[in-house]
Symmetry: C2
Subunit: 431 residues, 2 copies
């Protein structure tokens, strides 16, 4: 439900103080659209119930809403499984061939209100801020004590995390400490998973992998408490260089992908235009000086993207020279084939070898025939997304044989920007 | 300058009633980033001049701003050419190898104010409304009489257009009528071009093609008045089917590409969520019934896109059945490989042959390895952009040899959504 936090302050049931139920994917196997942690809130309403979020795309949601209304009435948590079978493919069922386990629990009005109030200023869910939600999945703890919202200090782990988790285990600080040991690496990756905390001793700690193994191991869950951990890293950065029509199109498009976007241009008259006001930051500076300063200050990382759209070798060459010396996720530069050749020559002269130049995406973007600035923005972001996923072939999916993501490596991509969730290798909308 | 209209009401110089100069690309040859009609407004300011828009990406803009400030001071229009040469490549010059002709004219404060006031409600520049700006390029008519802003009635052509153009030719209704005959087909295509209206007789009418031929023919422009025509069709439509996480990501991304986006879902509880409020319309209806009704009402055309993200064959199959019987630009459907196979079987059974099915993009999107909804939105829009440009290869541009758009056909693509401008075949950011 971490993805719903920012919408809570304006959700009608939260404003009115109504109770609701939260339905969450806690296990997924095969091919289902959304990963573990994906949640939907449901509250009674006339003529239709109030819903926030979605679990898939319609195939199971009607049944989940009905089950959530039952949970609201009974006050008791429930678990439901939805899976593919030939007979019910056109009724309730995942025709995509996957199976999901959905946990449905009441969320008392006071918990909902406190979550909404906590995020009223957007602090907890602001893209620049790490954030986590940890919930007990056992039915005896669905009340106010069953959920912990963690901010940057707690997400950093250690003592602060263990203390924060004590609200989930009142009077049992040792269990909170054991839980913290399991939660910390997940939060450190910005991912989501279900973990099992042993009630008796550390020797029984285990982490479930959220990929359908939950059900298989259910038999030996005696003496453990299941926790659902959802977390998010600070937003990765995107430097858009060039206060021109292409920059104006790329800034909002990159924000939709979850980036914290900085527009960089040395010319105040151009950078000050209102069309760039949607950027998270505007830096009026020589781009290469800005990049080097940000890198020295530790504000860039291996998830950072840089798109050079400035069409001006005076600025472009020193900027690319600096960017290729850093460990960044994506460095691309716009320009004609002729500009590209001049650029490569200048970078070779600056001492860059084939490895560096192989990391430069120039001319930038996928070959979509893009002309208009908004089209060029799509071409750039498409190349960026493909770069995160080594198995991507870039052609139309309909021309690809077999499972869509078969070529994707099982290992997590360290440069992946989207908060990675456990089991995501097989949890794709298409596979 | 048509692309700047929506920003005028909040532009400081317009609010203050200051005069400004408008610099416009009126001819382009070879490889330059932005097409004929692209404009930049410049007004004096301290410490930096005020600028609205951009002409390229920085390579010539400094010089254009300086020239515009000169024009502001002298009050006389000027023309400037910027082209590639090896010597000045790193000073002022287009290293991309192109050449542009820039027309710079004073825009009196009262004209600026009237343009800003006209669009204060956003009416003229709303994406659903056709709109055109026609300007005289001869220096004797740079005042209030040198510009006509056309709304939907005038854009429809005929008498209304000729009457509107009389403001450009006071006391010369026959010239206005001749101009209307030249302007009407350009506005009908939603494109932009420079045209020459003969002052003596209809036999000398000619349309310049905006591709650098302007300069070549300059010698025989005696007895003609050059007009710059910029126009825009109503925004094309995009039907996003499925009020789920994928729909929530696609709606704002498709709007950035200039579409008027309708979210369609039969379930009121899901469609009513605030995250869909950015859609231009929300239709709570069975998707296939809505599509058929819109088609019957004449509200869909060959630029319309439909993305089916609903994961529910109950709705998907009848919708795709209906969509494939219409002449639409793009019809795609999400789902796993297994869903895809069931879908194809159902559509075959409904009587669709290989031609229809060849138009269905299923599984939807380019193969970017996309998993998160925002990534899936990029994959879908990348496929859509590539579909507009038959020469698109979809792989990274850096892997493509030779000129980037060499394989693009010279003929205009009737399904192209972006307002097409004359000469755009060679006016690309990369070629």
């Amino acid at each position: 439900m971490i993805e719903l936090l920012s919408a809570l302050p304006t959700w009608q049931p939260a404003l009115r103080g109504d109770p609701c139920a939260v339905a969450t994917v806690v296990g997924a196997s095969g091919s289902v659209p959304r990963p573990v942690g994906t949640s939907m809130l449901v509250a009674s309403g006339t003529p239709a119930p109030h819903v926030l979020g979605s679990l898939s795309g319609g195939c199971v949601e009607g049944a989940v809403v009905a089950a959530a209304l039952d949970v609201l009435e009974s006050g008791a948590a429930a678990s439901a499984r939805f899976g593919y079978s030939a007979e019910d493919a056109f009724a309730v069922g995942l025709t995509c061939g996957g199976e999901v386990e959905v946990h449905i629990a009441p969320l008392p009005a006071e918990v909902l209100a406190s979550l909404a109030a906590h995020d009223a200023g957007g602090a907890a869910s602001a893209p620049g801020v790490p954030c986590a939600v940890v919930r007990r999945l056992d039915p005896t703890h669905d009340g106010a004590g069953g959920l912990a919202l963690l901010g940057p200090a707690e997400c950093a782990g250690g003592e602060a995390l263990a203390t924060a988790l004590e609200t989930l285990f009142p009077g049992a600080p040792q269990m909170a400490a054991r839980a913290a040991a399991l939660v910390e690496p997940i939060v450190g990756r910005g991912s989501s998973a279900v973990v099992a905390v042993a009630t008796e001793g550390a020797c029984e700690l285990r982490e479930l992998d959220g990929r359908g193994d939950v059900g298989v191991r259910r038999g030996d869950l005696g003496g453990v408490v299941r926790l659902l951990v959802e977390s998010r890293l600070p937003a990765p950065r995107f430097m858009v260089v060039g206060a021109n029509d292409f920059g104006a199109a790329l800034v909002p498009a990159a924000r939709l992908l979850g980036y914290r976007v900085t527009l960089v241009d040395a010319r105040p008259a151009f950078a000050a235009q209102e069309r760039f006001a949607c950027a998270d930051e505007i830096a009026v500076a020589r781009p290469h000086e800005y990049l080097v300063a940000e890198a020295r200050a530790g504000r860039l990382d291996a998830r950072t993207a840089v798109a050079v759209l400035s069409h001006d070798p005076k600025f472009d060459i020193p900027l690319l020279d600096a960017a290729l010396r850093l460990d960044l996720a994506y460095v691309g530069a716009m320009g004609s084939r002729r500009s590209h050749e001049q650029r490569i020559a200048a970078l070779l002269e600056a001492g860059h070898g084939p490895v560096d130049l192989g990391r430069l995406r120039s001319p930038i973007g996928l070959d979509l025939g893009a002309v208009a600035p908004a089209e060029v923005a799509v071409a750039i972001l498409a190349e960026l997304v493909a770069a995160r996923h080594p198995g991507a072939g870039c052609g139309p999916l309909r021309d690809r044989r077999g499972h869509v993501h078969a070529a994707r490596p099982a290992a997590p991509d360290p440069q992946e920007v989207t908060p990675r969730r456990e089991g995501e290798e097989v949890v794709s909308p298409w596979t």
